[in-house]
Symmetry: C2
Subunit: 424 residues, 2 copies
């Protein structure tokens, strides 16, 4: 199957330059001239639109879309222990499927083509992602004790079963091993995580240094920063994607600045939960690889990566009192190329070039908020709402065409969501 | 002419409660039961939508939409003196008309029904606002010397001519007297502003304490803060709307906390130009009346007030490290009721009640990013992109219906904008 996207204005190209992009199977086959013997089953006319790599949401919990707008403007402890955990404890695999699907409808509509997730019901996520046609990177959060059935034993067994299920069903899902956080995992669990990640050849993902309390507690308990603690346990020597890093000490920057370590910043969640602003501009100056995420919809009520880019850039300019930091082009790279590295795709995604994954979106350049067309990177980061995305190709398949989702029945989705949330 | 909006979920009401709202002429006639003898020329079915007061953008420069995405990620001095001013100096009244119109297309699409503007070509703005059907509050920025033709003389004459033009043409425009800023206006000009504002019975508007440089220079030159300086000149005893107030000293809070003083915060512009975060939560605690604006599109590349609400709330929670401040309902009031006071409408706008101006919008509750419908205030502030607005009634007239602008030809608009900006 071949797709030809004609007459497209490619991100980073001058706006007057228009090119054709050719997709064969699930990869970009060529940019410019058709590859030999190419036959287009589908031709998309991209006039007046920008073709860009799909955005990569490098940290979220997709099922949490079920909890959106359920518990806002309350203190963190109330939010977590009185509001979120009681309903989360009761969730079923089927409910999570629909929560995942709600998330995917929003992500696809707003230009996200792949995401890195931490889940409870990983098999539901594989199924929902397959049905929606989005590209998932899935991890099952490990917590508790390595020895008990109610701790890591059951969770790791589920993770292995899901990987097997994905393999058997030809899913495009890939996997990571997740240690939830240093305050929910014992040292044992963290060591177990590293062992199985090495054994399976999988990257690790975790939350780290999200709150001041976590930072202070770690200093008290272990006599070192959370970053150094992970380092001492050997986790920073493995391929690892770390969410948050809001609270960092001077020495932490050097420990994080290595090619196998990827930090994912979540500006909306960190601000909304009152954890503050991660030192992203500083991390970038120190050579740390930073990607971008939304976090789950219980703390960042939108899964819109355009909104996340806007917030990231503006917050950093405000915090640093420097209008030059986190410019539009740099912010776009964080949400695409850097996201690809954080999600474990290396340099095979987040870019438009032959051999890269065919995860691409088209963005309308004619909406009033996108005019005048002086600088498309600026327009995408500073002016777009995310709803300017008209078409989405993921894994070589068209999942949205002219703003119509081809893979999700939104009316059915609404019905299912209402049924589930009425029971909360 | 009567409009009945049927079966609407009113903002702040429980989501299960649905009411009818009746509009006669340019006012809300009744909420609930039809007023005696009411005849509907138009009935709008508002099922699955929220009816809310239109948002009020309390500080912008509408013509600056022509400069959107023209000069980003550069230092402030480069931005202003090398990029913006050279093209601004060459602008014509007709170009500004189209710049205004571009702004109005975006504002109407994203739920803004009224705005407070500082303009160079005020007559163009009256004409464009009339054609677009939006409600303008217009001021001509005064700068320079009160005695010279090239200073205040010409500018004030133009302002008076525009007020006369608006009166003659039955425009719904209202006016303020604008002193641009303390660093562009001599003491003479500031006194002149107060004199003519008193004489004409008009409120004053100005920029104040936007940058640290302005604050420091004022301390050096006048031996007092910018706020105290305005106070000493008597301007804080008049009805006044003040944009920015990012840099405040302890004593300033008390001086600003009076019913005739309205502060307009512009979170995107302040962050993007690296001026920082205004102490909005603190101002509210001190009893200061705070409204919300976008500023012009050269510094805040979107004129979308939903985006501005989102930024305001998240930035304040992040800065204060308190997840409770600037909650969704409070943020919505800032963008509606407080905006009405800042724009000089008092309590006659920004609310849905009999006698209030018929400036109303409908917002789709069924978009994936708005689900589940647990809390519409949260959804509007934390989840909405602004493009969920489907209908807009301004001054009793329908200007957008099912996302179609009835007053603006967007294809023509695009053509004119391209023609103008190609000449820059």
């Amino acid at each position: 199957m071949g797709i030809c996207i004609q007459n497209a204005h490619l991100l980073y190209d001058d706006r007057k330059v228009r090119k054709n992009v050719y997709i064969e199977g699930n990869e970009i086959a060529a940019v410019g001239n058709a590859p030999e013997g190419f036959r287009a089953d589908t031709v998309i006319d991209a006039s007046h639109r920008t073709l860009m790599p799909g955005l990569i949401n490098a940290h979220t919990h997709v099922y949490m879309s079920l909890f959106r707008n359920f518990a806002d403007d309350v203190p963190f402890q109330t939010w977590l222990f009185e509001r979120i955990l009681p309903i989360e404890d009761e969730l079923t695999a089927e409910q999570c499927y629909w929560g995942d699907m709600l998330n995917f409808a929003e992500m696809i509509r707003t230009g996200t083509t792949a995401f890195l997730d931490q889940q409870m019901f990983t098999k539901s996520c594989v199924m929902a992602a397959r049905d929606a046609g989005i590209r998932p990177v899935i991890s099952r959060g490990l917590v508790g004790s390595v020895r008990t059935e109610e701790g890591v034993v059951r969770r790791w067994r589920e993770a292995l079963e899901t990987m097997e299920y994905a393999r058997e069903t030809g899913s495009n899902a890939t996997f990571m091993v997740s240690a939830h956080a240093i305050y929910t995992c014992s040292e044992d669990v963290l060591r177990f995580t590293l062992d199985v990640a090495r054994e399976k050849g999988l990257p690790i993902t975790t939350h780290l240094s999200e709150t001041k309390k976590e930072f202070d507690d770690c200093m008290k308990e272990h006599g070192m920063t959370p970053v150094r603690y992970l380092h001492e346990l050997g986790l920073l020597d493995h391929e690892i994607t770390i969410a948050h890093c809001v609270w960092l000490a001077e020495e932490d920057y050097k420990l994080l600045a290595r090619p196998n370590v990827h930090v994912v910043t979540n500006p909306a969640s960190n601000a909304k939960l009152a954890n503050g602003f991660a030192p992203v501009a500083r991390m970038l100056r120190e050579g740390i690889d930073v990607a971008l995420g939304t976090d789950g919809a219980a703390s960042d009520n939108t899964q819109n990566m355009f909104t996340a880019m806007h917030l990231l850039s503006l917050m950093q300019k405000g915090v640093e009192q420097d209008s030059v930091v986190l410019g539009a082009k740099e912010t776009l790279k964080i949400a695409t190329e850097n996201g690809a590295r954080a999600a474990g795709f290396g340099d095979t995604a987040g870019r438009i070039e032959p051999g890269a994954k065919a995860d691409l979106i088209l963005v309308d350049e004619t909406a009033p908020n996108m005019l005048p067309n002086f600088d498309i990177a600026s327009a995408l980061v500073y002016s777009a709402t995310g709803t300017e995305v008209t078409d989405s190709v993921i894994d070589g398949k068209i999942v949205m065409r002219n703003r119509e989702l081809l893979t999700i029945d939104e009316e059915r989705l609404r019905f299912e969501i209402e049924k589930i949330t009425d029971s909360f």
